[in-house]
Symmetry: C2
């Protein structure tokens, strides 16, 4: 700890109120080093945090967020904020269980108002708190939303701005414009931001300030206010700024790394009792050449090693994302009707590779999941085969589009849901825990999961030719199992599971990835003398009714396993099918994510916690096999081997 002069002693932001500018600058350096050092060790969000160090210091210097409101958008830029709010000690366990969450987390500190990780929410929650404070008579609380330039053009943020413009009180949106999304920013507005970065110099605008104010919805009032503006505010009024149309007084752009100016400007705008947008230019990855030169790679890197000027990212195994990118490239090579679309996550989804290989047929629309899905619906209507790749958790943004513009039209849009299931360090804000539940009520929807690379390849090929309606494939934020159980597996057939291993005492019906754990559990159970069949269900809608019927008929215990909420997930599909067809369900036991939040930690650790890892599966099945017969249980029939009756190819 001795390497830091200030950081270990900051218990709350009041500590920096009396710092000199030189001390603040030194503090900024310490924060950058602490963050970079930790992310190098554990991985985490780097470049976004390096970019907002001065901005965060200035905000805490000027406002008192023990009383004022600070709302983060996305939230992966909260590390400096956490360091200033007494959490330096937690940094060494960044993104680990019982450690510091990688996103704002109210369970950690009252300075964190919302645990967030999705984009575009900050302005709306800030509007809610602004209105709430006002209705509660607490009008002395200032409200600040910190939003990035890619988030602010998300539909939700735009809706929030439109409503914010009607507020009649202090309300500050700080636009952290680093000219970067997680990837390159998309859409026409990105070009607009570029333009004002280059052409609008605030020195020349001062004389036009009166004119600007007249044009605002609250023109007369603002003109009166003008005389109370500080000189910096007057000078920095931005004429013809996009968000002026939304009723906000727009100021900037100003330099987001010039701490004294930031502080002075924030002191001035704090006093304006009208919605204000302060446009701040920052450099993503600021402070280290390697990160500012390549902010995409260092947006959220894995652990890395720095030696002098060389930075080396530690390489992990082959991810499902990488496997997906390769498989899709193959699909796109073979079928020129296939289109690949992502919504602001080109690197995270692997679509970046496809954009390089197929610039005409692969695109990123920015953080706009609703638009991405609807655009794909339009493309499908013209006969193309769009594959839209969105993290499971972000597809929650487009449920209504999946319903109306896709499923109701019967359009074969293909949904590839990366990071389905538990996601590890990102925690509760990013788990893909409800995709089955939210999509399975849609008539005509086909739901699938891929347990490994070979199945991912087979599933994508199935989707390519499945034109009867929409289909959705889930796969986890994980490495594909190595060595691969099989280079090639039997083709996906609608609603057919696949047998992975035979057994006579119980059957595990796993949905996608957990089938790998089930195979390990099977070995563990073998040592206890049990012979367990393992199936990869592959489909949650429709389920393999024939298989279920046969398994139920044997009377042996059946365990469904999934990396999805137990409410409305794959296991539910199975018991629903049984119920619908008059089959008893008592031999069926369901394992899935519990009805409670699972916070950041290792993905393996989270699976253990939920009991869906190999150990959990073996434990559960042992309990079932060794429990006294249920009082009302269906009598167990002949212990027939369930598998020979099934004419299925072995997946392995």
């Amino acid at each position: 700890m001795s390497e830091y002069r200030f950081l270990p002693h900051i218990r709350d932001p009041s500590a920096i109120k009396a710092f000199s500018h030189d001390e603040l600058a030194e503090l900024a350096q310490e924060m950058r080093h602490a963050i970079c050092g930790q992310v190098a060790k554990s991985g985490g969000h780097l470049a976004p945090n390096l970019g907002v160090v001065e901005l965060t210091i200035a905000l805490h210097r000027v406002f008192d967020f023990s009383h004022d409101r600070l709302l983060f958008d996305v939230g992966h830029q909260c590390y400096p904020h956490k360091l200033l709010t007494g959490r330096f000690d937690m940094l060494p366990r960044l993104r680990q269980s019982e450690g510091m969450a990688g996103f704002p987390e109210p369970r950690e500190s009252e300075y964190d108002l919302f645990s967030v990780g999705h984009a575009g929410t900050g302005i709306s929650t800030a509007v809610g708190m602004a209105r709430g404070d006002q209705l509660n008579g607490e009008t002395d609380r200032n409200v600040v939303a910190l939003v990035g330039d890619s988030s602010i053009v998300n539909g939700l943020a735009m809706e929030g701005l439109n409503n914010a413009g009607t507020l009649k009180r202090q309300f500050l949106v700080v636009l952290n414009d680093n000219g970067m999304s997680i990837g390159k920013p998309q859409g026409a507005l990105a070009g607009y931001f570029d333009k004002i970065r280059i052409s609008e110099r605030y020195d020349s605008l001062k004389q036009r300030a009166h004119e600007v104010l007249k044009k605002l919805p609250a023109g007369q009032y603002m003109e009166e206010l003008y005389h109370r503006f500080g000189e910096m505010t007057k000078a920095a009024l931005a004429h013809q700024h996009l968000f002026e149309h939304f009723g906000l007084l727009c100021i900037g752009p100003i330099d987001g790394h010039d701490l004294p100016s930031l502080i002075e400007m924030l002191e001035e705008v704090k006093k304006i009792d009208h919605p204000v947008l302060l446009h701040v230019k920052t450099v993503k990855g600021k402070g280290f050449d390697f990160s500012s030169d390549d902010p995409t790679t260092f947006h959220s890197p894995k652990p890395f090693r720095r030696e002098g000027c060389r930075v080396e990212l530690k390489s992990g195994g082959r991810s499902f994302t990488a496997a997906y990118a390769d498989a899709m490239a193959d699909v796109m090579n073979r079928d020129d009707k296939v289109i690949a679309v992502t919504a602001g996550m080109p690197d995270g989804t692997g679509v970046a590779d496809l954009i390089k290989k197929f610039p005409e047929r692969a695109l990123d629309v920015g953080i706009a999941e609703e638009h991405a899905v609807d655009m794909c619906a339009g493309m499908a209507k013209t006969g193309l085969k769009p594959f839209v790749t969105i993290y499971s958790t972000f597809l929650q943004r487009a449920v209504d589009q999946c319903f109306q513009e896709v499923a109701l039209q019967g359009l074969p849009v293909r949904f590839c849901m990366d990071r389905a299931g538990l996601v590890g360090g990102d925690g509760a804000v990013h788990h893909g825990f409800m995709d089955v539940a939210m999509l399975r009520s849609l008539p005509g929807m086909t739901l699938m999961a891929a347990m490994d690379e070979a199945n991912l390849v087979a599933a994508l090929e199935f989707m390519r030719t499945h034109d009867a309606g929409p289909s959705a494939l889930r796969y986890p934020r994980d490495e594909v199992p190595e060595p691969a159980p099989a280079d090639e597996v039997a083709p996906f057939e609608l609603g057919r599971a696949t047998l992975l291993a035979e057994g006579a005492d119980a059957a595990i019906l796993a949905y996608g990835f957990p089938a790998n754990h089930a195979l390990v559990a099977r070995e563990q159970l073998k040592t206890r003398g049990y012979s367990v069949a393992v199936y990869d269900a592959r489909f949650a809608k429709p389920v393999d009714l024939e298989l279920i019927r046969e398994l139920v008929a044997t009377g042996i215990p059946i365990l469904t396993v999934e990396d999805h909420h137990e409410n409305g997930g794959f296991g539910t599909c199975v018991i629903e099918a049984c119920n619908e067809h008059g089959l008893p369900t008592q031999a069926i036991h369901r394992l899935g994510l519990p009805d409670k939040w699972i916070y950041q930690g290792g993905r393996g650790e989270q699976q253990r916690l939920a009991g869906i890892d190999a150990g959990g599966i073996a434990r559960k099945l042992t309990e079932v096999l060794e429990a006294p017969a249920r009082a009302t249980a269906t009598p167990i029939g002949d212990r027939a081997r369930p598998t020979p009756a099934l004419n299925r190819k072995l997946g392995a």
Copy 2:
């Protein structure tokens, strides 16, 4: 039919290509009379359609939508389009089964590309089709999206515009600006539209056209194009238009009822191979004083009678919406922390009444469901008790917000889901068929339904004091049952069902409104000699496990009934609970909406079709009671009367 000179003879839009301006004007009159006459008889969307008669004629005159693409946003303004595309014969069965849908419907005509009813989708699907046509090499297809001024500020539409601005081809957004949403438009941008309606005169803009074009992202190119612009386009270029920032060439506003000018302008802009926004001013309800003077009342009226100047709306029974408005007013009177919020549906949700009574504590944020939910999350964070009232189908827009900003934070936002279940004439685009499925995976969420006014009142009171987390209440687009079964019912207790009528041979466990049908079915079954108990489940999450356990123990058939999809609905909650607690499920039978689309028609008819009306319930239970015992069924236990064991107050 003889009253119309043109309408009966228009088989497709080519019919009007050779019409003189006078003939087109006469056609417009005929269309207005036909639409008004039909809506007076059957109800339907009136004012929105009257407003776009000339605009629709002009679009079909200039474009060939058998080849070009016309995408509607919301779509309730499609009647003139339907009359011009050969569907005059279907008009007498407007919004009825086998008749003309009230929204665009591809099953009716190839001129309808998407069946829509939700706002903000048109630009995104149009972008998709524009990109699709281009990739397919069909570059001669023009693409037009018709969007209203309240829809275009919806988040999805903004995302679509941002992406549209990057297109390098013809792409026309027609902004139908009638200064009206379904209710009054909300948000700062509404004020912006007002301003440009008043202050921007295109005569004065012509000389600035070059300057405008230079500022566009494609400035140089557009300047070159300028010489090919028609005079009208040059004159009508709108400088500093909001959507110019999105990369669109903005033209207008122009008069949307001046047919010759509309046609001339569309002919000109059709040739521009760059994204264009044509801002058209229309008068909602145009053509009849009663509708243009009160476009909110006549947005989508029930049948009405016109006698000379007097227009009288036929009054129906008391709606759940009216009951809700009264109950909420009472809640708000008693508890000043309660806030009422709606997203663009003040009249449809009854919140309009609350805004009148509590202007400080009730508000409409416009068609922005995502923002509405997040704003409420912010309010809840300040200690207020926000009730956000959104149609079940529109809450699909805010699933992600229900997850992250509400449920994950444990915030007690109250969701009031009007029009849950089948909705009648609006058809498939508006059924609230998946609210349980999409919300039940959220930890801490409480899900409820109200069967009648007394239960609605009791449920709202429960929600008022339920601060432990979010809660959601569903109630249908229907009249409250009269005479009321009870003025007052037992208070809602978390997870407790209520007994409505005793019985010994079977039990019906209905979720909310269908409990009314169950009571009728019970009488029908009585005539067949069966004694059936009826419960209103009230809660889907958590379900009444104690009751379920007791019912299952009796061994009698149990029928769950709900006005929700069978996949993942209330019945599923029941069998999941059984499965989790080792109870057999074979005595449980589920009735709900089938896994297929149900199109427009009477709500009663739709309930019959789905088999969830009294007749369907009685039929299903008769089948169950009279079926030979299932081969593998759990042995039926003693035919004990299930109800006396339960210490529940009678709801009636």
